[in-house]
């Protein structure tokens, strides 16, 4: 495509602005524009450096290995972009101060607490209707039909579902990206010496398509 002749060639700034306006008015978006960019260093592990809308991402770990912190980093991708994120908290144990420290904007991060397993699928589906990124804890015995329905809903609504199964369990539905956090040694603590200051968490990423090749990286843990 040639540049519009009406614009002087030098006027790169005006052209950029025009492109921006056109981009907003355009009904179609390219797939790379539907990415929610994720903060470094996690971005290096992801195809395109972000979360693709309309997909499901699972975050697994065997407990206290940094899975929740990893999920916070993913949720922060949505609130950083000015979008809304929400969490489904089954047992009321999500530590929001840690979420804030990972960069999640709490005012755009409502949490639905105390959801009973029989209502879990309804709540997650309802959230996917209007919220860009839904971070959902998955009950241990989620029904396969519910899981399939939710995955389909995320695709249809162009939302991102971050599934956080209970420690030790795996996400039974399909997922574009599967994160497994494997933990790491804590810094700053010894017997009776100072408190923990942080750690590097080993993260393994697998998935379909571009992400099929397993990648391994480290993520600075905030807690």
């Amino acid at each position: 495509m040639t540049a519009a002749p009406a614009l002087p060639r030098r006027d790169a700034e005006a052209r950029a602005r025009l492109r921006e306006v056109a981009g907003r008015a355009r009904p179609l978006t390219l797939s790379r524009e539907r990415l929610l960019p994720v903060a470094e260093p996690l971005a290096e592990l992801l195809p395109g450096g972000g979360l693709r809308r309309g997909t499901v991402v699972s975050v697994e770990g065997r407990g206290a290995t940094g899975a929740t912190s990893l999920a916070w980093t993913l949720a922060a991708a949505a609130t950083d972009a000015g979008e809304w994120a929400a969490a489904v908290d089954l047992h009321g144990t999500l530590g929001m101060e840690s979420a804030a420290a990972s960069g999640v904007a709490l005012e755009r991060f409502p949490v639905v607490r105390g959801v009973t397993p029989d209502r879990w699928a309804t709540v997650v589906a309802a959230l996917l209707d209007g919220i860009t990124l839904v971070l959902a804890e998955v009950p241990r015995h989620a029904r396969a039909g519910d899981v399939r329905r939710i995955v389909a809903r995320a695709r249809e609504r162009d939302a991102v579902l971050v599934a956080l199964p209970t420690p030790g369990a795996t996400w039974s539905g399909e997922a574009a990206l599967r994160f497994v956090s494997e933990g790491g040694a804590w810094h700053g603590i010894a017997c009776g010496a100072g408190p923990v200051t942080g750690r590097a968490v080993r993260v393994r990423v697998g998935g379909r398509g571009e992400a099929a090749r397993h990648r391994v990286g480290a993520l600075a843990d905030t807690g």
Partner: protein, 566 residues
């Protein structure tokens, strides 16, 4: 300039309506000092005070604890807006024989234009006496001294101030009538602070505006009214022009409010009929959203809305609500909910209440004015996303309960579970304050990603297998060697490293309690570490061999896992 002469209005104000409501529900409070508290950004704050409590210097705006300190024997009651509206509905209904045009502003304040009724009863004074008689008859159950006040003046703003005039200004102090045309003279000596209330949902801006005027040397409404209107508009913008208009005795709107276009009425039929308040309120929510959206499209704002409901048996109820500073969807829904509450809950106590479920709900703007200060995002964009999210969250609240959908505010506190305050979706977060300062005694380092509000019972043992204890001086009996807890992967294991203990002596000025960790907290206050009794505990940070880090709280010789770093 030729200001619109405002409609002559009667305002009836029942001071401390929240207190009257509390006394109505619990007659034993009749002669006790009562303070009604409301949960706000600063915790529980006094929002209404009985006469007895006021004599002890308990004033609105102080915190609950301070109020209790000022007045021994103070009875503190939590606010219940629905009950207030319900009780006030009875007063509004009693006034219906006098005028059909009763407008509720909030529970405790109502107004109506006096033109017709005044002529019928032979003058403003006679009308006021008549209204007072009716209102007193509704409120007083023989024990409480009647304290409703009446103000009549040109315009609701002046009439509202007239209700606040005290006895020393003449009369018995309960009825103040400002003669027609004297409104500007009546308003002149009032301090500019009274303008703060006209900002409606933006009390902070109102206070800031009044403060600015004061600092500029404009101390009274008269000072402000003496300035030329165009200069005030130029310096203070639309809010200033509005205040100037009010101060000079003009109407609330620059142009006379127009009757709304007939197609603005929003109706919804309920099938099956709603018999419970939350069912009807749920329908009202979408109705209110639709109405506000339609008004926005037309560039109109509405400050008075008529709520109308029909029951299965063909009864029809209508009530008009007014809101300072224009109605937002949230404010509108709150009012509709109160009104439905009044119609549905008290059913059976009085004959004229709704006898069946509600079939039809209608919201009609009573008068509209051009919206001057509202503008949607140019590209939809953020605003559209916000609206969509808000709708989804409101739906979930309707499904699961108000408190289950909440956002978190990080505040001060020592243990991780105390540092988070949950604000139900739709309520003000009150996070305008800067980020909290470092909290002495808080656990240093990163915040744990999993926090057990009710700590999970655990065993923290030393090398010999004895439980680790922490003395009153904060000294540990031995170094922890093994931690076992159901909340940890594989149930815990040998300890690799530890830090602490951090001893916490909570409420050391109170008597000690016997609460043990692991038992469910008794109340939300208890859970947030605010329980009224003294508690001593110590926190350990423990890292197990398999790199599992957690916080263990030891209290009364028992250990529990409070948080896990995940």
């Amino acid at each position: 300039m030729n200001p619109v002469i405002p409609e002559r209005t009667l305002v009836c104000w029942c001071p401390a309506w929240a207190v009257s409501t509390a006394r109505r529900t619990d007659p034993s409070l009749a002669s006790a000092p009562v303070a009604v508290v409301e949960r706000g950004a600063r915790g529980l704050v006094v929002c209404a005070v009985s006469r007895e409590a006021r004599a002890e210097d308990v004033v609105i705006g102080i915190r609950r604890r301070e109020a209790e300190a000022r007045c021994a024997g103070l009875v503190v009651v939590e606010r219940d807006p629905a009950a207030e509206a319900r009780a006030f509905e009875a007063v509004a209904r009693a006034l219906e024989p006098i005028t059909p045009a009763v407008v509720l502003e909030r529970p405790g304040v109502l107004s109506f234009p006096t033109r017709g009724p005044s002529r019928y009863f032979g003058g403003d004074e006679q009308l006021a006496a008549r209204v007072l008689e009716i209102v007193d008859g509704q409120i007083v159950d023989g024990q409480v001294a009647p304290d409703a006040r009446i103000g009549i003046a040109d315009g609701a703003f002046a009439a509202r101030l007239a209700t606040r005039t005290t006895a020393q200004d003449g009369g018995d102090g309960r009825v103040t009538v400002v003669v027609p045309g004297a409104t500007a003279t009546f308003l002149a000596p009032w301090p500019v602070a009274v303008l703060g209330q006209t900002f409606g949902d933006r009390p902070d801006e109102g206070a800031a505006f009044a403060d600015l005027l004061r600092r500029l040397g404009l101390r009274t409404l008269g000072d402000l009214a003496a300035l030329p209107a165009p200069s005030v508009l130029g310096r203070f913008g639309l809010d200033g022009a509005h205040a100037h208009r009010l101060a000079s005795g003009g109407g609330e709107h620059a142009a006379p409010p127009a009757p709304p276009p007939p197609d603005l009425v929003e109706t919804c039929e309920l099938d099956p009929p709603a018999t419970r308040v939350d069912e009807a309120a749920f329908a009202a929510k979408s109705l209110a959203d639709r109405l506000i959206e339609r008004l926005d499209e037309l560039g109109l704002a509405c400050d008075r809305v008529i709520v109308e409901a029909e029951t299965e048996h063909g009864e029809r109820h209508t009530r008009c609500w007014r809101h300072e500073g224009g109605l937002t969807a949230t404010a509108l829904v709150a009012r509709v909910r109160w009104q439905l509450d009044a119609w549905l809950v008290d059913r059976g106590e009085r004959d004229e209440e709704a006898t069946g479920g509600l079939m039809l709900l209608r919201l009609a703007p009573d008068r509209v004015v051009p919206a001057t200060t509202r503008q949607l995002g140019f590209w939809g964009g953020d605003v559209a996303a916000h609206d969509l999210a808000a709708r989804v969250l409101a739906r979930l609240q309707g499904m699961l309960g108000h408190d289950t959908v909440a956002t978190a505010v990080v505040g001060g506190g020592r243990a991780p579970s105390e540092r988070i305050r949950w604000v139900p979706w739709g309520e003000p977060r009150g996070d305008a304050q800067p980020a909290p300062a470092p909290w002495p005694g808080a656990i240093p380092g990163p915040a744990p990603a999993r926090v057990h509000t009710d700590p999970v019972p655990a065993e923290l043992l030393d090398e010999r297998g004895e439980p680790v204890r922490v003395s009153g001086r904060g000294e540990a009996s031995a170094a922890p060697a093994v931690l076992r807890c159901a909340a940890l992967p594989d149930g815990g294991g040998p300890v690799a490293a530890w830090a602490g203990p951090w001893p916490h002596d909570l409420r050391w000025w109170q008597a000690a309690s016997g609460r043990e960790p692991g038992t469910p907290a008794r109340s939300e206050r208890d859970r947030r570490g605010e329980s009224a009794t003294r508690r001593r505990r110590a926190l350990w940070q423990v890292v197990l061999r398999d790199d599992v880090a957690c916080l263990v709280v030891v209290e009364g010789g028992r250990a529990a896992v409070e948080a896990v770093y995940d």
